[in-house]
């Protein structure tokens, strides 16, 4: 029973265009959401996060949108660059026994074509 779902296993985008990666969650107790980026043979690296008190957070080319009523968040990358090609993981966390152990989705593989 996946609490965090990334329904698109892969996404292909042309360089310069917008990449939109989607993530859905089921647990209404989640109050903090993160995106991680993973290159092959490396561990995931933190990209951007958003608290449930916000609906948007922007950092350079990366923007995360949160729609709490729909339990949906998305990551926008504008403009997309070939170096953005990686697997992107969505993660969600909430207070569980006093810890904030994130639950991860299965990832979306983004390919940005030159």
């Amino acid at each position: 029973d996946q609490q965090v779902k990334q329904n698109s296993p892969s996404l292909s985008v042309q360089e310069g265009r917008i990449s939109i990666l989607n993530c859905d969650y089921t647990n209404s107790m989640f109050d903090y959401f993160l995106w991680y980026k993973k290159y092959p043979a490396e561990g995931p690296t933190f990209l951007i996060s958003i608290s449930s008190i916000k609906d948007k957070n922007e950092d350079g080319r990366f923007t995360v949108f949160l729609n709490k009523s729909a339990k949906h968040l998305s990551l926008h990358i504008v403009p997309s660059q070939p170096g953005d090609s990686a697997v992107y993981f969505c993660a969600a966390s909430g207070r569980t026994g006093g810890s904030y152990i994130p639950t991860f989705g299965r990832g979306t593989s983004l390919i940005v074509h030159p």
Partner: protein, 114 residues
């Protein structure tokens, strides 16, 4: 500035043997997490250490799995009597604490059980 390191990077073992995987977190990080990623799956939480508190072992899949964290720093994940379904990439992450949601991941250990 050293990040999270893990050793070995690759481990091939025979079914039924025990293995030990090591994680060196970032100095000063009080929280340490173990995850595993099986082929085509997301990151599956295994165990979490926070300071001197009792670890959260809720993600360990069976009693063949155990982990220690000595001196609040280095951690060892032990898998006894390995099975083929244990084959995965085992990832370690650390963070400043429960209030710091951003995790820093190591490169992982790829375990193959033959």
């Amino acid at each position: 500035g050293a990040g999270v390191s893990q050793s070995p990077s690759n481990k091939v073992t025979e079914k039924g043997k025990d293995v030990e995987l090591r994680c060196d977190p970032i100095s000063g990080h009080t929280a340490l997490y173990w995850y595993r990623q099986s082929l085509g799956q997301g990151l599956e939480f295994l165990i979490y250490f926070q300071g001197n508190s009792a670890p959260d072992k809720s993600g360990l899949p069976s009693d063949r799995f155990s982990a220690e964290r000595t001196g609040g720093s280095v951690s060892t994940l032990t898998i006894q009597r390995t099975q083929q379904e244990d084959s995965a990439v085992y990832l370690c992450a650390s963070s400043l604490g429960t209030s710091a949601y951003e995790q820093y991941f190591g490169p992982g250990t790829r375990l193959t059980v033959t």
